[in-house]
Symmetry: C2
Subunit: 194 residues, 2 copies
């Protein structure tokens, strides 16, 4: 049965939308944030400039949408890591390890600090950061209730510590070194027995 | 005895140089990086534009110099923290605590992520980061030799972990919470006894 016309239109719109995001990320990586124009994006995507402007008002809006999509994917990975593990200790380890790998990937694929500065002014990015913080804090709260991590520091502060510590993964070269970073971070969470 | 003319000139130059740095940092904090001009800086410093251009070619160069000065001060604080402590454990604690306080202060006084992106392209800033890393790594190497921290991870990786973990101080509200962060970070360095 052929798709309804409306569905075909909708699927086409989604494809164009995605092509614009991917092309823009590509161009920014190649040429730097300031030198990419709407005309270049339209040309490489293979659509007219007028069409491009029906989707997005400017380059900045495209980058924010591209970043939103990545962040949503990352948050989903973390939620998946948490839901597939069997007990609080395994869940905490899974969440922290997943975040370390995301931090590593982002520092290597993110098109530069200039873009990062632009995006981090956006309030949706602040919202995503908050979701990330909450997700890690919840895993920590659960682990604290189970008695497997220290209870002398609030889960909120512990989450702040974990998220900063794990961004070190961006400066580490290998899966092994990232594994060791997760170990160090978890060691910091252990109850103080002295 | 009156100062020699050359010394008077030199002292005057240093004063003007410092006034330019301070005024520029002030203006950038008030108005944002992109809206500050050389003309505004000259006016608020109370010097002519032609004089300003004898000191610096552009706003970016002033900010780099201002940042250099802060970083040099911070590195000096860390070196002092290290040299006044009596033993490897106290020295390591002093260095990490000093860095946590610097990270806290920087996140509250630093005029925004846009400036941060600009500065972090500068290779002198990369050099200062390397000096910071080396200073922390040396304190860790000494502590590892004394057997008070884990030896299953290299001091280089441990320094990367510490420096990232302690930047969490920028998101923490109080001296007490920063103290707890230093405790967590140090706990991550403890030998693994399981």
């Amino acid at each position: 049965m052929p798709r309804l016309w409306n569905e075909t239109i909708e699927a086409h719109r989604r494809d164009v939308h995605q092509a614009i995001l991917d092309t823009t990320a590509e161009l920014v990586t190649e040429r730097g944030l300031r030198s990419v124009t709407m005309a270049q994006i339209a040309e490489r995507t293979g659509i007219g400039r007028a069409t491009l402007y029906k989707y997005f008002p400017d380059v900045e809006a495209i980058l924010v949408a591209w970043h939103d999509q990545h962040v949503a994917g990352h948050l989903q990975n973390l939620a998946d890591a948490r839901s597939t593990a069997a007990d609080p200790a395994t869940r905490l380890h899974a969440v922290l390890a997943a975040y370390a790998h995301i931090a590593h990937e982002m520092s290597h694929r993110h098109p530069g600090t200039e873009l990062s500065a632009l995006l981090h002014r956006d309030e949706r990015v602040a919202h995503a950061q908050q979701q990330l913080h909450d997700l890690v804090r919840d895993a920590l709260t659960e682990a604290a209730h189970a008695g497997i991590i220290r209870a002398d520091v609030t889960p909120d502060e512990l989450a702040t510590y974990c998220l900063h510590s794990l961004t070190a993964a961006g400066d580490l070269p290998s899966t092994e070194s990232i594994g060791r970073l997760v170990t160090l971070t978890l060691a910091g969470l252990q109850p103080d027995e002295r």
